[in-house]
Assembly symmetry: C2
Homo-oligomer: 708 residues x 2
DNA sequence: TTGTCTCCCTGCGGGAGACAA
DNA sequence: TTGTCTCCCGCAGGGAGACAA
């Protein structure tokens, strides 16, 4: 049940027609095999940008890129083809002992069949439909992630726990006492237990972790800007993970020993395995932002559907270390040629010579086709970006399809379709509502790859067929299928929740078209659904802008996009009170994705028929913190005191209707901020930290010396 | 010059006839090649028990033992012979980064010639004469080693520097000041610099290291019982090493990464190298006490000269971790058989099945012939132990030489003949003066292997030919040639010095025979010499006994053994004031070892003609701390307030003459204590530390976790 | 609601002499 | 001479409410 999934602005809701009988446990028939580390925690730590190939899916492995990654360019791989078509045999989740960095070990086996298809130019989707959202399970609803503030990491005092997070994730305290406190025990990725004193004190009262917190910060070498995440798994156990800020990635200081094993030392064995068509392993660091050397086959295929030529403008989702770079990742293709015509003739790896619009970043002057998205007036994405434009099955999104396009169909990304815990982060959706063509659109779209839930739900509002939704999801313009997945939990900063609400398609679609200037953008990523939604409330536009404090934890809510998940949860809560608390049958969604007549479709069909009265009906049934939730919603979706319709930060619905361009700018701004949530890296507080907490830093330096 | 070699009870003196023109630098044509670590420091850290094969010498390598050492007993080595005859190609000195443990990488190459000789039963000494004491150089006279007390390692206060040590090793302070202090910078094995504040304060005044000391203790994870050693090398630079107590060997917690490389992972490559007769490397940990898998060829040969049979009693120098086990290492041979008749037929490795007299220790029930020394009434050693018995060249020390004995000649141990910094530790010498036969003798002799200087000088007093000295040195009874070498510096605990005094042979030999009940035992290890000695003083017996404090640092002085080195130094000081302070030409000794008519022989001839008036003449010329030295000697060789003739701990000369048995018991006791100097491991202070310094220990635990 | 600040207070530990072995 | 003890004192840092954003 979604009982515990309640969080601040987005709510996990279930389709009432789906079966919720199976309890949600932390194990199950998971797609990824049980590994050394807790899977939910792994995904929580990996963050929403993670893109993991699925077991059983078809991918392309680029030895050239692999050799590029490891410094040894002299390594032999001469007899390897530039593109090795593989089947993913296994994906194992791991975490570095030294720095808690998560990584995955991907086992690949060369697949002649895929290669054959590739050579024959055959377009195939090879029944990956079932694989897309399939087999995902094990929700971990009680979770929060908070970027550490300077106070959190200072040596004076402990960790300030967001109230809702504490109430959601921690055992409840006896508030009758003068200073309620308890001991929390949380297990990290390595199974290490950490004890904290959780106390509720201060004037005004707040939740704090005191004793034990400092030790944790020091041991983990956390600095302000890093993020910690707590999650309560099914049996009530607490898990504890960290996400380091991009700048101070210790991974560079401590080269991952296990990862290293797969990157540097075993290139020869990889080559040998490929030549003998045996299984080989590749290390996959989801937080490393280098070009991936494993790309889903269909993404690879689709990227080549474009005709890249000099002069073509493009956008790139540039996952730089510095999150701020993210909003400037457009460029111009100035040539198409082999990177290494001698050793890798015909390789698509970085076959495009590009010039970036801004020359600040020391970016590669070469990119691979699948890394970028063409932009420009004539580019394909606009074909479905125009509101109301219904795309039909088989229509090609690109204008110049000089390469066979994969057949339409339910072909989602192999790299983990957003499945759950997607949160409403609607601002970038304004691209859809404000098609300014070319660059702006593409810029938006490229950003959207982080939030596939939005895209999907967006499309669900446009297309009349669920399958079209999937189809569109696979269009290059929508991220070339390489959707960064928060497979299990896109844990969001601060008060954000871990699930989302699918958006109904019928009335919603109409509404969407009617209000072509504004888009209601419910979160959709996890394919959860809610039958009823407080739709009236949803239409309140709201936006939270990250304020001056860079490490503040805020939710970004698109103006005019309905922050309905809260209500939807309430609604669902009301309707499914009898279900077990933590059980949500995602598996069923996985097995029956987007089938007409399925439970999910029912939700989609009815989702947008929000009834505020339903919301009112259920507000009393909310178990904990319901007063706050209700008051928030009554105040126009206040989030932690911020009104979601606050004119200061958000635009009213009317504003957006008339000032879509302004809204778009908001959207642009948002994206940078949102990226910062993922890579919490405010420069200022980090600097403050390094000066105000010299002692702790010194200790870290000492440890660094010791460890190296 | 030996100017700076002065220390408390033993003195480095030079033969006045030798050339002292070449300054003693820390480099030179050293036998061991310059390696990553400071050689003097390495040897200082390795301690006096170290036995390193010499470059160029012939050794026997036992793959069987190698496989035994590494846990992988399934490793292939089936095609290797049990005895691999090798030539030592190189010896490289290293130190573990993690724990400062010293080790050596010995490069061996299979040598057909040696093998051929072995197969033909040929006895050879193959010109190793020159190699024995050859090429040793680079004295590092200013050095001291102190076992850390609880106070030294406590968090309150610093390190109490023994006065003499401070005066000898550290730059002198301006004692005019109220609290004289200076900054010391010392370099450890890895080249890391450590800064300490050296202050002379307190009432009464004492030398202390304060600021910086705690950091050093914590970084190195020192506990009370560990020992630190400072040495001042030629250019005045300070070196800083540590010797950990045996019990808390961190080496077990941190398996030596580099060492590991040579023990576990490369057995296959070793086998391959041997089969192709190429160079291979073996890790050699001088402080690990397991049976050595590399044994000098001549030692191997001589050990097989004995006819081992069931019922034979033996003694074994048991280098257990726990030093206290050292005095009970006798046993009975109960069988001779192959350890592994299938895989290693005919192997001498642990071919003797033994039963130990005490069954406490979990010792091997099998030993190798070269590990033990036969004992019993009929055993050979007594043949030259009887005072006055002159052995002639070619006489066999063993009674049943069923194996060809190596030809007589100047064939010292390949494993580092004691060269310098041997200190007078005469107690075990009483074996010679009190021959009780069999077991007692052998026990003494086996102990003597630690102090080959004594043996050599002892013999020099007996034999009329220098070459006989070497010959005797090679007899099995005198340590089977496997002499633990303090090649460069046997750094002694506390106030002990780092050089020794050769003992004249002519008059000394006479004297020796005259006073058959007591032996004057000047230190001899470094082949330094003094022409004149305050011999009257020397004959004062003195002994320091380790008092109740287990970590106290004391010198053990045999009653009735003359602590003459002090005076000898004074004498020499007087005579050679014009020489440069730190220059001692050891090289010349190395080039001309024991040649008749050489400078050294002159010394030996005249050494015992001590003149107390000479001592009196020079006392005023001693540069620093001379008053103390003089007063000490005048008081009957007081050492730090302990009278060397104190009846409480030592026996007077007369006592020893009439109570040699008692003296022998003293000797037995001494040896255990001396071992403790090498492996300073008092259990009590360590326990105290772990309770009183919990914080520091916790930090270590943290680091352990981080480092593993 | 929560980030930051300041204040309080404890305890660690460095540094000194006292004292005794 | 030096190991141990105790005392002094500075300071790091944990923990609390105040205050404001």
């Amino acid at each position: 049940m979604v009982f515990g999934l309640i969080d601040l602005n987005t709510v996990n809701t279930d389709d009432e027609t789906s079966s919720f009988d199976s309890p949600s446990s932390s194990s199950g028939n998971l797609e990824l095999p049980a590994s050394a580390v807790c899977m939910e925690l792994w995904h929580a730590c990996a963050g929403p940008l993670i893109s993991l190939p699925r077991k059983g899916s078809a991918v392309v492995y680029f030895p050239q890129g692999h050799l590029e990654r490891i410094s040894d360019h002299t390594a032999l791989a001469s007899d390897l083809p530039p593109h090795v078509f593989c089947r993913v045999v296994d994906v194992k989740l791991h975490a570095e002992e030294a720095n808690d960095e998560v990584y995955a070990q991907v086992s690949l086996v060369p697949d002649n069949e895929i290669e054959q298809k590739w050579k024959e130019g055959e377009i195939e989707a090879e029944g990956e439909e079932e694989d897309t959202v399939g087999a995902e399970k094990s929700i971990t609803p009680h979770m929060f992630c908070k970027t550490l503030t300077a106070s959190d990491t200072s040596s004076h005092g402990g960790f300030s726990v967001p109230r809702r997070a504490a109430e959601d994730c921690f055992p409840s305290l006896d508030y009758e006492q003068q200073r309620p406190s308890q001991e929390l025990v949380a297990k990290d990725l390595h199974g290490t237990l950490w004890k904290f004193r959780h106390i509720y004190r201060g004037q005004p009262r707040r939740h704090l972790l005191t004793t034990g917190w400092s030790a944790f910060v020091n041991k983990k070498k956390l600095v302000s800007g890093d993020a910690v995440l707590f999650l309560r798994v099914a049996d009530g156990e607490l898990r504890l993970g960290i996400r380091r800020a991009a700048q101070v990635k210790i991974g560079t200081a401590f080269p991952a020993p296990y990862c290293q094993q797969f990157t540097s030392s075993s290139m020869a064995s990889v080559a040998h395995a490929i030549s003998t068509r045996r299984v080989f392993n590749i290390c996959y660091n989801p937080r490393a932002s280098s070009s991936e050397i494993i790309v889903p086959y269909h993404k690879f295929l689709k990227s080549l559907a474009h005709s890249f030529s000099a002069g073509m403008r493009f956008k790139m989702h540039f996952e730089a270390e510095d999150a701020t770079e993210r909003s400037r990742c457009s460029g111009l293709v100035i040539g198409v040629s082999d990177l290494d015509p001698v050793r890798w003739p015909g390789s698509k790896w970085r076959c495009l010579v590009v010039r970036w619009d801004d020359m600040e970043g020391n970016r590669h002057t070469r990119v691979s086709p699948w890394e970028i998205e063409p932009s420009g007036s004539a580019s394909g994405p606009s074909s479905f970006l125009v509101p109301g434009t219904k795309r039909t099955r088989g229509s090609l999104p690109t204008t110049k399809p000089d390469f066979p396009i994969p057949r339409d169909g339910n072909e989602p990304s192999d790299f983990g379709e957003p499945s759950r815990f997607q949160v409403l982060q609607g601002q970038e959706i304004f691209c859809f509502s404000t098609p300014h063509g070319g660059q702006s659109q593409s810029q938006c779209l490229s950003k959207m790859r982080c939030f596939p839930g939005f895209r999907t739900s967006m499309i669900s509002g446009v297309a009349s067929n669920i399958r079209h939704l999937q189809e569109d999801s696979g269009t290059p313009s929508a991220g070339t299928g390489f959707v960064e997945s928060s497979r299990f939990c896109k844990v969001l900063q601060g008060q954000e929740t871990s699930s989302s609400l699918p958006y109904g398609r019928g009335p919603a679609a109409n509404q969407f078209q009617e209000n072509s200037g504004s888009v209601r953008l419910p979160n959709y990523g996890s394919h959860w659904s809610a039958q009823g939604q407080g739709y009236t409330q949803m239409r309140h536009s709201a936006q939270l802008v990250q304020e001056s404090s860079p490490s503040s934890v805020l939710l970004f809510q698109q103006p005019n996009s309905p922050p309905c998940n809260l209500q939807a949860l309430h609604l669902h809560q009301k309707k499914r009170e009898t279900s077990s608390r933590d059980s949500v049958d995602f598996e069923r969604y996985a097995r029956e994705p987007f089938q007409s007549g399925s439970a999910l479709e029912d939700v989609l069909r009815n989702g947008s028929s929000g009834q505020s009265e339903e919301y009112n009906q259920i507000e009393s049934s909310y178990p904990r913190g319901s007063q706050n939730l209700v008051s928030m919603c009554k105040k126009g979706c206040m989030l932690f005191g911020f009104s979601l319709i606050d004119g200061k930060h958000g635009a009213s619905k009317e504003d957006n209707l008339t000032e879509s361009t302004t809204s778009y700018n908001h959207g642009t701004k948002f994206l940078a901020c949102n990226e910062e949530q993922v890579h919490p890296s405010p420069p200022v507080p980090i600097k403050v930290m390094s000066s105000s907490c010299t002692k702790a830093r010194d200790m870290h330096a000492v440890r660094d010396v010791l460890l190296t």
